[in-house]
């Protein structure tokens, strides 16, 4: 966990006071909506179909149990008893009243949570691998650098009015769980040939209306130069990024139109003028940040304790362990993913009761720490393997032990037309129907790793472009239709999926997905050939034929 200092606490509290005054002036009529809108957006407050929506940041996906309890409190006291974890390590509350928002913000501020820069044309929440600091083989904890970026970008005067929003993601593992290739800037911490650590910097990735996979702009930037280099990128974007057309304003369009070589040369020119400036990170600064991260006092524990040997006789436990428990860098410990994808449930939603219970379990089994992943699940990052059976029983009781991580029912979905003012079609009911169709865990396991991503509009909050199966809701003559893509992926081999054919109506989406899965099962070269690998080998055509033969 990172411990905020007095500067952070003051900043957050001052923001609450400021926003309370802004809301008061809005409700009295002193501020018009036009004047107020940008102020509320700077505090994560959107107007959606039914109500205001409040988006709260969970920087680099790390939460303490105390913070989780406070989120539960906000859900219960100010909303309708639940929250929605998003694809960018935020949580959204869907029914909040503007008049009560300052109180909700104040309650969150007491535990160091805020909503700054969760909206607007600024640097958004810095996201990271949810297994940061505990994944085996990691170069180092990338959250140290994420925290540096958070401090650097918070209320940055030069970059508070960028042409469009700007998103960073960071990982320090070979396997990318942070989707860095579909972010405006993606950072991969690695070692160069000389054994020094630094960053591969990718730029211009993004989804939405015009999806692009990020391109490497510099293969190695030493840590001391990280801030100056990203500042050079932001300056070039701020200068040349389009402000006349919202659909062409993201950095990905600038990189695409200039070409990566020209863009890189502009950045290099800018960087050379400022790289040895105040932004250079000396070791003491990095060490200061590092020292504010506290890590558990791990015990020396056996890899295969008696508790685990005994529980292995229970097939339900074993199914969960094999699916949801991952190796930890410390022997005797494990990383446990909590599925927020129950059969028939809205992906990413958690009730206040679940949040409270998860906080208690984090205290009991995970040194009080919880992680949020971009796949809309949670994780307990420091669980002793001897505690796995007891933890599983407790998680199962509260409905977050569905053994479907990375399987067909572990669906990423945006709120869609049930909540969102931008959506053209519903996402959640499609996801719910799919989880019912594939509810049998044996079937889901037989299918293997398969990511289904659903967005209710082209803005792609459900990351449909990079789903192994992507589903995009569109509106045709007042009816909901869905375009289906296959072959997308969000990992280190990120790719944008290919459209398989004409959009299908709402009632046929689950049938189409079943057809695609059946085609895969029939066509895969061997049982361990993953769906995504089969699509790469076979192309789209066999799947298109199967889906449209009878349509």
């Amino acid at each position: 966990m990172y411990a905020y200092d007095e500067i952070d606490r003051t900043l957050i509290n001052e923001r609450v006071t400021e926003f309370r005054d802004q809301v008061k002036r809005r409700l009295s009529g002193e501020l018009t909506e036009d004047e107020f809108k940008s102020l509320r957006l700077m505090n994560g407050v959107y107007l959606q179909l039914h109500a205001y929506m409040f988006r709260v940041a969970i920087p680099y996906g790390t939460l303490s149990s105390e913070q989780m309890r406070r989120l539960a409190h906000v859900a219960r006291r100010y909303d309708r008893g639940y929250g929605h974890f998003t694809t960018r390590q935020n949580i959204q509350f869907n029914w909040i009243k503007l008049a009560e928002l300052p109180d909700a913000l104040a309650d969150l501020a007491e535990v160091g949570i805020h909503a700054m820069q969760t909206s607007g044309n600024c640097t958004r929440n810095i996201t990271a691998d949810q297994w940061a600091g505990v994944a085996p083989g990691e170069i180092e904890d990338p959250r140290i650098w994420a925290e540096l970026l958070r401090q650097y970008s918070t209320l940055h005067p030069e970059f508070s009015f960028l042409p469009r929003k700007f998103k960073f993601a960071i990982t320090a593992s070979q396997h990318d769980r942070a989707a860095i290739k579909v972010h405006d800037i993606g950072l991969r911490l690695h070692r160069n040939a000389a054994g020094e650590t630094g960053f591969e910097v990718l730029v211009g990735g993004g989804l939405g209306r015009t999806p692009f996979i990020g391109k490497t702009i510099k293969p190695f930037v030493p840590g001391r130069d990280l801030l100056s280099y990203v500042e050079a990128i932001l300056r070039v974007y701020n200068q040349y990024g389009r402000r006349d057309n919202i659909y062409k304003a993201r950095i990905k369009i600038l990189v695409h139109e200039l070409g990566i070589e020209k863009f890189a040369s502009e950045v290099e020119h800018e960087w050379q003028q400022m790289r040895d400036s105040a932004l250079t990170l000396d070791d003491a600064v990095v060490e200061d940040i590092r020292s504010r991260f506290t890590y558990p006092a791990y015990e020396k524990l056996p890899h295969m304790p008696d508790e685990l040997k005994q529980a292995a006789h229970d097939p339900h436990f074993e199914a969960w362990r094999k699916n949801s428990v991952a190796p930890h860098k410390v022997p005797g410990y494990a990383i446990v993913t909590l599925s927020l994808k129950p059969v028939g449930g809205p992906p990413g939603d958690a009730t206040a009761e679940q949040m409270d219970a998860i906080a208690d379990l984090a205290d009991k089994y995970s040194f009080g720490e919880i992680r949020v992943g971009h796949e809309q699940n949670l994780a307990l990052p420091h669980v002793a393997r001897r505690d796995l059976p007891a933890l599983w029983r407790a998680l199962d009781k509260i409905g977050v032990a569905t053994p479907n991580i990375n399987l067909v029912t572990d669906i990423i979905a945006c709120p869609g037309l049930d909540y969102c003012a931008l959506a053209n079609a519903r996402s959640i009911p499609i996801a719910q129907e799919l989880t019912r169709r594939f509810a049998n865990h044996d079937t889901a396991n037989l299918i293997g790793r398969l990511h289904v991503n659903i967005s209710g509009c082209i803005n792609a909050c459900g990351h449909h472009h990079v789903g192994h199966i992507g589903i995009l809701g569109v509106e045709k003559n007042g009816e909901e239709f869905y375009q289906i893509t296959i072959g997308g992926r969000a990992d280190e081999n990120a790719a944008v999926g290919t459209l398989i054919g004409p959009a299908v109506p709402y009632g046929e989406v689950a049938d189409v997905v079943e057809d695609i899965v059946e085609a895969y099962l029939a066509l895969r070269a061997r049982p361990d050939e993953l769906f995504i690998d089969a699509v790469k080998r076979l192309g789209v055509e066999p799947f298109r034929e199967r889906v449209y033969a009878t349509r």
Binding site: E33, L47, G81, W95, A99, L417, D418
Partner: protein, 104 residues
């Protein structure tokens, strides 16, 4: 961004003006009495672009009471019942199409 009043207004059937209530965001409908109601059946119905523009203009003028006013289609059933004219308005009027968690 273009003001709703500067946008070209084209309606193809009976329409109403809807918005969200400023203090809590609740869905509201402009009434013939120049007020707001949470009940769609009390919405003022217009049939021409000119009437729609006028209704929108008076709605937008109430910047303290309502936010995001816009014109939306409705269906008038036999007997005069007013129903939402598209799926978006159905969802705004009736609520989400999924089951919400029950309060503990």
């Amino acid at each position: 961004m273009t003001s709703p009043l500067q946008q070209k207004i084209k309606i193809t059937g009976p329409s109403m003006v809807t918005a969200n209530r400023t203090w809590d965001g609740v869905v509201i409908y402009r009434t013939a009495a120049k007020g707001w109601s949470t009940d769609l059946s009390e919405a003022a119905i217009v049939h021409t672009a000119d009437d729609a523009r006028a209704l929108l203009a008076e709605s937008v003028a109430d910047d303290v009471g309502a936010v995001g006013a816009y014109i939306a289609p409705v269906q008038i059933r036999d007997g005069g019942a007013i129903k939402p004219g598209n799926l978006r308005e159905q969802i705004r009027s009736r609520g989400v199409t999924i089951e919400l968690p029950l309060p503990a």
